[in-house]
Structures are given as C-alpha cells and as structure tokens.
Subunit: 333 residues, 4 copies
Amino acid sequence: MKRTLKVGVIGLGFFGSRHARIYADHPAAELIAVCDRDPARVRLAAEETGARGFEDFRALLTLPGIDAVSICLPDRLHEDAAIASAEAGKTILLEKPLAHESGAARRILAAVEKNGARMMVGHILRFDPRYVQTFHAAAPERLGTPLHVRAKRNGIRSTAKRLGSSSSILFYMGVHDVDAMQWIARSRIHRVYAQKVEVLGNGNEDALYAVVNFQNGAIGSIDYSWAWPDGLMNGFRSSLEIVGTKAAAYLDCTEQGLYVVEDGGTSGGDTHLWPEINGHIAGDLAGELDHFVKASLSGKPYVQDYREAFDAIPVLDALAESARTGLPVTVAR
Amino acid sequence: MKRTLKVGVIGLGFFGSRHARIYADHPAAELIAVCDRDPARVRLAAEETGARGFEDFRALLTLPGIDAVSICLPDRLHEDAAIASAEAGKTILLEKPLAHESGAARRILAAVEKNGARMMVGHILRFDPRYVQTFHAAAPERLGTPLHVRAKRNGIRSTAKRLGSSSSILFYMGVHDVDAMQWIARSRIHRVYAQKVEVLGNGNEDALYAVVNFQNGAIGSIDYSWAWPDGLMNGFRSSLEIVGTKAAAYLDCTEQGLYVVEDGGTSGGDTHLWPEINGHIAGDLAGELDHFVKASLSGKPYVQDYREAFDAIPVLDALAESARTGLPVTVAR
Amino acid sequence: MKRTLKVGVIGLGFFGSRHARIYADHPAAELIAVCDRDPARVRLAAEETGARGFEDFRALLTLPGIDAVSICLPDRLHEDAAIASAEAGKTILLEKPLAHESGAARRILAAVEKNGARMMVGHILRFDPRYVQTFHAAAPERLGTPLHVRAKRNGIRSTAKRLGSSSSILFYMGVHDVDAMQWIARSRIHRVYAQKVEVLGNGNEDALYAVVNFQNGAIGSIDYSWAWPDGLMNGFRSSLEIVGTKAAAYLDCTEQGLYVVEDGGTSGGDTHLWPEINGHIAGDLAGELDHFVKASLSGKPYVQDYREAFDAIPVLDALAESARTGLPVTVAR
Amino acid sequence: MKRTLKVGVIGLGFFGSRHARIYADHPAAELIAVCDRDPARVRLAAEETGARGFEDFRALLTLPGIDAVSICLPDRLHEDAAIASAEAGKTILLEKPLAHESGAARRILAAVEKNGARMMVGHILRFDPRYVQTFHAAAPERLGTPLHVRAKRNGIRSTAKRLGSSSSILFYMGVHDVDAMQWIARSRIHRVYAQKVEVLGNGNEDALYAVVNFQNGAIGSIDYSWAWPDGLMNGFRSSLEIVGTKAAAYLDCTEQGLYVVEDGGTSGGDTHLWPEINGHIAGDLAGELDHFVKASLSGKPYVQDYREAFDAIPVLDALAESARTGLPVTVAR
C-alpha cells in the first residue's frame, strides 16, 4: 500500500484532456477534479474519469484533499492560475511555456517561492528518449566542448490557424527548443538575432530563423515555422544537433518508422509523444506525468528545476525583439 | 491508497535484471524477491532493490505474500519454473518464448489451467507503438482483406555467440514476429517452408528464410538472421509490412532518429524497447510490465491471451522441421 | 571526329520513348529510325527527334546504314523482333526481360550466336550506383562467403492494371532482382519455393514470396508485389541485402532524399532511374544506353554478358512452377 | 560523324583528376592536355589518358587546337588562370567558386566579356537530380510565394585539415548553397547576419550559422560546418528546404540508400556526386561535364549563366564581414 497524489486538471483542451486520462490511469495518482470554462468538456471528462467537475479553477483549488494541479490553459492565462495555485499551497505541473512573457514568468516564480510551493514545468522533451539520450551523448567527457547547436521545430498551417492569436510559434513551439538547446549544450544563450515572416494572418510570426550565441562560446541556429502545408508527413518536423570538439550527436524526429499507405498517399504516425497503446496514452507525456507524480510523492527534485524553464523565457523575448527591430539583441537576465 | 502487487523475479540476466528495476520503480508493484542461481547477481539485485534474494526459485515461491512472478530464465528452463509457479497459484509473467517447443508449451498451459493461475507471456511488440499502431491500421475496415505480410528480425553475431546453444534464432527472436504476423493479419499460419544457414558453430541455424500461408489466404515471408556483423547500426533491424485489398501499413525499426558521431563512425541508439530515461527504464518493456501489474491487480484480461502466445509455438516447430527436411510442412495445431 | 552508332528504336511505349530521347541526345549515337504499330506515337517521336518513322520493325531493319536497335516491345514480342534483328546482323539492346519464358530466350540466343550478332539485355540495375556499389562491397575479399541474400521489388496497383495481362510481376519486375541476386552473390540459384496471391484480376500473380538456394550454399528470399495502394511514396519500393561471413551490405531505394509537401500529403520522386534534368533524361537508363553505344562502337564487352541475363529466365520459370504446384522446384539449366 | 571539343584540364587535384577522366571517356570530347605544377600528377594523368602534360598553364593555353579548358585550381589561383584562358579565347569551365572574393570575380567577368569568351562555373548542384527537381517543385505555380528557405552543408574535420588555409568553408562549401538558395527561391539575398566558430586552427571559420533576407521577402537560414568528426556517415550532410504559400519541398542528402556493415560499424556511400560505375565516373559531375561539352559545341546557353554564379560571391563576402563584425550586413551588388 502506497500513498497516492490527489490531482486536479485545470483546462481540458488538447493537453488537459490527455493529462486527465493519464492521471486517471496512474496507480499512484487519483484524479479528483477537472476544470474548464466549457461545461461540455467538464461533463465529458468527469464522466470518463469519475473526477468532480468545475468551471472555475478557484473553486477547484478549495476542494479538500487536493494535493496537486496540472495547469493546461492557454499561455496568457498561466499567470493567474499558477499564482492562485501557489497561494493555495498546491504542487503544480504547469504546461509549457512557463508564461507568455518574462514579467509574468517572474511573478509566477515569486509566488511559488513565497508560498513554498513545488512546481514543475511541462518540458516534454526532457522525457523523450531521443532528446534525453542526446543530452547524455553531449556530456563533456564524450562531446568535448560544444561548438555549434542547431534546433528545428516545424508544424503545419492548420495548427497555426487553430491556435489563432492565443499563442505564437515562439512561445507555443519555440520554448521546447530554447530549453533543449540550453540543457543539452550546458550553457545559456546570451545574444540572439532573428528574422521572421508573417503570412497566415493571425497577428504573429509564422516562421522565424535565428542565430544565437551561448555563454560557453558555441553558436546556435534556430528554425521555427508553422507555415508548412497540412500534408507534411506526421504533421511536424523537429530535429536537434550538437557538434563538439570530440564528438557530435543528432536526432531527427521526421522518421518515426511507421507508415500507412492508401490510394491517396503515404502518411506517418506519432510513435513517441503521446501514442495510444491498448487504450492508454503512452510515450513521453505519460513519462512526464509519471515523473511528476512520483517525485511529488517522494519529495525528490524534479528532473528540471523551474528556474531552468524560466531561463528560456528571456531568450524568447529577445528573439521576438530582434525579429521586430532587425538588430542583434542581448538577452536580459 | 491502492493495493499493490507483490512480485518476485526469477532469473536475473539481461531481461530479469530489467524486470526487477522496473518493478522496483512501479508505484503499484512491490518487488519483494529476486532469484538467480548466480549468488553474485542475487546479491547485486537485492542490494539495489531491497528485495530478498534466492538461489532456488522453489524457495522463492514459498515466500509468504508473493502474488506474482516474472520468469526470465533461458527458454529450456521455462517449463519447470512456470509449472511450479502455476502450482503455487502465482500470477505469472513468462518472458517469451512461452516454451522451447510445443510439448513443453502444452504442459505449461495445462498446469496454468488446472491450477486456475493467471499468465501473460512477454510479447513486447504488443506494447511497441509501431507494432500496435500497425495492428490498428490493419483493421479490416481500413486494410480490407490481407494479401501479403512480411516480417524481418535481424541481429548481430555477438548476440548469437553470447546465447550460444541456450536458445536459437527461431525461438529467441522469431517468436516475436510469428506472433506479430498472426496478430496483425488476424489469422493463423497453417503451412510453412523454410531454408536455413548455419555458420557460427553454435549448433543452431543462424539465418532462416521462410514463406508461409495464412488461413485467410494471405501469404507471408519471414526473414531471420543473427549473422550480421557487429557494426550493424543499433545492433538489430526489424520491420513488418502488411498489404491488403484497400490499404497497407509498414514499420521499420532501422531508423530510430538518434545518431552519435565519433571519429570511428556513426552509431544509433534504442529509443523504443528499454531506453534509460532519467535513471529509469522507459519504453516498451516498462509499458508491458505496467500492463501486467495493473491488469493483474484489476482482474481485467491481459492484452494478449496466452493461447495466442501458444499459437506461435507450433509455427516455430514447423519452420524448424521444414528447414531440416527441405519440404513444406503443415502446422500441427 | 569519332564514328557514331546509327540506331533504331523498336517500340515507343514507356521505355522506347525514353530510349529514343536518350539516343537523340547522345553525341556518339544517331537516332535514325523509330518504330511502333501506333502511327501517332511514330509521328510524335519522328517529329521530336528527326528520325524516320516505321510501323513495321522488319521495314526498319532494312534501312541502309542502321547499326543497332533498341527493342522495347512487350515481353511476348521480344522473340520475333530479336531474332529478326539478329538475322539482319544488327547490334541489339533488348529491354529486359530477355524473353517471357525459357524457350523463347533460348531461341533468341541461338539466333544471336548463329548470326554473330552482338546483344546486350537492358538490366538497368547494372548501371544503378546503389546496386553496382553493393556488388563491389560484396566482393569475396570484403564480404567473405555469402550467407543470405534478400531482394524486394514492389509497385502499385495502377502499374499492374496498366500492363494488364501483357506482362506479369515475375517477368516485368522480378527479372531485375533474380539477375541482381545472382550477380551480387556470384552464384546461380538452383532451387526455389514460391507462393503467390492473385487479386487484381489480370490473370497473373499480383504478389509472390519465395525462398531460394544458391549453388554456393547461400539462401535467398524474394519479395515481389504490385498490389500496393497507389499512394505508395515514389510508387515503388525496392531493396537488396547480402550478409557474408565477414561483412554485409544493403541498399534501400525507398528513401530518395527528395520530398514535395502539399496540403494533400507528402510525395517523393525518382532521383536515380530516369530523372529529368535540365530537359534531358539522366540517371541509370542514360548510363545504360551510354554504355551500349560506347561498347558497341569500341567492340569491348558489355558489362553484362547476355548469358547472365539468360540465367535469370529459368529461375523465373521455376518460381512460376513452384507457385503453381506448391512444391519446391529445381531450376532447369 | 560529329565534331568534338578539344579540352585541357588545369589542376589535377581531387576535381581536376576527375574532370580529366570524364573528358577522356566522353565521346564528344578529346582530352588533349593536362596541367599541374606537380610533375608526378602530370605524368600519371598523361599516361592514363594519352593527353599531353604541362606544368605551366600558360604553355597549355598555346597548344594548337585546344578549344576549352577546365580550371580546377585552388580558389585563390582562379583569377590568373581564368583571365589568361579568356585572353587566349578559350571556352572555360571554371570549378566553383568563381573566385575567392568579389574583386577577383569581377576581374574574371571583365576579361571573359572583353574577349568574347564563353564560361561556365562548375555549380554541380545544378546537375543533381535532387536539387534540380526541388527547383522545379519550387516553381511559382506550384509553390506560390517563397516564405522561408534553409540550406545546410556539413563536412568532416579531415577535409578542413586537408585544405588547410587554401580555402574556407564559406568559399569551398558555402558557395554551393548560396547559389542554390538564390536559384531555387528565384530571388537574390540582400541582407545577412552570421556568427562563426574557429577551432581547427587553419585560420578560417570552421562553422558558420546565418540568417538572410531575400529581395522577394523570404527569409533564409544557412548552416555551414566542417567541424564534424570523421566518422560522419558519408562524410557529409547537406539538405535544402523551401516553404511557400501553396506547397513546400525539401531534399536531404544524408540518406543515400546504400550501407556497408562491418564489425567496426555501418558506413554509407556516395550515390550521386561522382560514383564509380563499371570503371567510369558517373553521377552529377559527369552530367555537368556532359552539358559543358554539348553546349560548348552547339553554342546553346549553359544552364547557369556565369552572372548567376557571380551573384553568390558578394553574399559570401557579406557573410564573412557579418561574422567578423557581429552586425547585419547589406550585400553590396
């Protein structure tokens, strides 16, 4: 007999509904509450999981016995929910990005620290075997000193259209790679230069290319776009490579090893992020929540300190500023 | 608070040591016993996990409170351990293959059924996202009627040499694909023809090619070898494809999306079977044991009935007989 | 100033029209005649290339000054045209397969030898960098003794439907791989076993799987199908691998390194066989015809002796017989 | 009977020796002279091809009957040889880059134009099926308006060490991609920003990342490095992608479809650039020289005007300046 973590999920969109299913399936977690401002989503999730439904996250936070919350809201709503959860003393899993800009991120951190709350940010690549093994291959004793690091994350237009102006490619997709580059290169980015194109009409950049400098002397290249046609195999492409003085490592998520052929064409499938296996969600997202549950119960540190998650936000701000001004920008820390 | 499954692991080789680590890490399992005839292995596993050590599996089976065992012994030792475990009323996870030939397999099944024990066979591909999604893509409403099915599983010579005469490529590797082909094609193989080569001097075939017929009219092709040079990227190659009257699906495990480059060459890595992620074993094997623990506790059926695992054994026997006689062989059921 | 080879092309379908364009473009060839029973095709090719048009190949063969012919007719018409060309003393490039069955192949050879004609058979894989380099990698001093060899050639249903009953997968596609396997393994196939499926209703097998034995002790596996859905990336898949006692080599033509992404899906392209480059046909087919022209002019031997091309035909016959009878068949030589 | 092009090759290093072999093999070319300052190389090439040997290119240029020259010298020696050849009225195939900086490039162009000479620059990607087909896929009616374009060209350290300070990654490798990007995007680069790392001690940058802007509004990303460990599969990686408002295309030269497996590892092979096929050099380089010979004889335009080759040089200069100053640079045209 072991103790379980009593969890509530705030926000029941693409990610929140998956968080809810994974907790409901986890032997050391109890999903006791779900929340969304859309009553239909609440009803559906409550029926599926047996959790109690809420439309207001502040009400959810007052539920007796709740230990932890997953916050899966749109970027701009992270601040309110995270601060309220911290003030309520809850353990927090905050979906990435930590916040939609540095100021909000700083206020969240202050609330967490003031209230002695624990928080983990949902940087899923920290649980992807390809990225984690690249991190290990890039250990100084194997790689030597990092020389250059390149990351790519590309998606399709229908994602951009679905998210409209509620997120941007920088914050929705880009935060993954800025975090991964700093984590794997063991160094922080201190200077950036970016150019962008806007074409889909959602008020944000649709593609952004950047060159960056790390504190340890390495250079970096960033390639973000969600302007690809919808027929892109698997719906996205991501890759990362790092070359050091002794060795190099690279990963490429284009090839997933799975193909379906119909008269209309060949398509792929997700075999890593959140594949459905025998009625359950497996893969990286399940691994991330498993870690959150276990480390929250045991009191051990999370694999990523939230201050490392925070370290990505000023880089995103600097990229946005450089793309706007057309000049190199030093990252404000 | 939920109940946990108290487990013992019998055999602490490559697979058994991984089973032990995964149970020790699972919130709904308690690893309370480990067993191997090598005292050094027992001591090591006991120290790492806190489980009690045994050199004799019969002693382990008498330990009070033990609910379930993982049997991870060489193929030829499966029969004794599985029958003893069934007679002791334990819930059994038996690493594949079910047995080293049909007779032993039948005796294991008889013991399980006579004693009302529950048993799951460790067919890991049932937990691999690539195979499971291929199974779904091959559903009759998507694929139509299966026409042809091909499976490949190739390994390197050092594996063959390490296992020596304790297993054969047919039973060690081949059982995976015979099970997968019958599962994904939704039909059983009833006739086989095989040819083999022997070259590594361990008394077994080192490569075997076969053509098979399914009861539903589809034809099949099988490609087994562990005669590849040790420098094979990732150490193995496996693939499966199925073409039906309406659609087709294929998977290829050659590409894993991860590469390390050193002066001596480019190498890959395992990103699916049992990758180390943040100090834990993740991937398919962890998914398999998670299912075993949960379904054992809940009483729900395992994703694979052991009779389906049994269905692969007479096919292996027939393949061996055909390779020996040079003639087509009808599978004895 | 160098002498040129005066050439006529007989048959202006998919291959013949390409032969005509390549000769017209070749500095050491003069395309002086084209022939097809369809007057529209003749008119078009004559206009494009300046060659003289014929509807009857026997008339073409009487054209003064003609040195050589490319025969690009349906398989069953090879015999008449090849024998007539040999009797007219022409140098012959005969598109594969040499003939549609062993008897016809033998009669063609007899005519060629009786008349002292030169003949090359259009086995394009002998000019594909991937196959040629695999042949070199499989040299005994690098590979050791061959142990197992596997070849795959798969196409799409619309090809099968287009060719209807005028060819079969064995002769249209399969001859490539039987020749390649014997060439690369440096040994002839002497025993075969095959199973087939028929589904597209053109009176021939649509997929055939086989296991074969080579005279040098190696075993082989063959995988032919043109039952894939039309959306298969690039429209075909082919691969070949050979494992020896010292090393191994494999090629895979699935990946061509070129992708076009549209809203409807991702598609590939041919980068090796006969790609259009700057208004010309480049790649393997151009290389094959370049070799034919040069070796015909210089009198040097062709890279493939026609007796090696002949060696593939009895294997195809044996595969067809085995698929019909369900029994292993010894290749009649 | 057709006229032939009488050719001399100046410089017999890696490229020059291949040019010589290809001309010697070409039915419309006669290799009548070879030149290198190393007498051993001259002797070897003269023996192999029957051409007359020179150690001074000015002497070669006075040889009666010579129509054309291939200039395959180190970058910094292009200017002298190209101007002398133009003044001698020869038709010139100048290996890329046109020159090692803009000033030299302009002087070469002036000499060519003043003397009415014809010149083609050896941009081999214009003859690579993957790049040419990407160019066609990027036609405005298929792609729409280009949004973003990315190019990568990476090599290994031993190449950097072999070339030492005689070239730089920008001019040796980079000119390929700047030309390809401008060609495929149908627009010129007008603004650049670059960062570099130096580590191999040859006095030049060893890796350079850049972001660029095209006149048509597209943005670009450039990734150059020859700092990869020598074990990189195939010894290099190159790729290019272009995303437009309607479609997208990408190529990846990492996968060549050919693998050799030995105990020490898996290696690949070149199947496109200059593979050896049946004793001859085939592939892109042979296609490039074939075009040069035919267009020189026919008087038709070369597929690439040398002014397009020139257009790449100021971009390289601007990249070098930006990497030096750390600021965005406008390309001087």
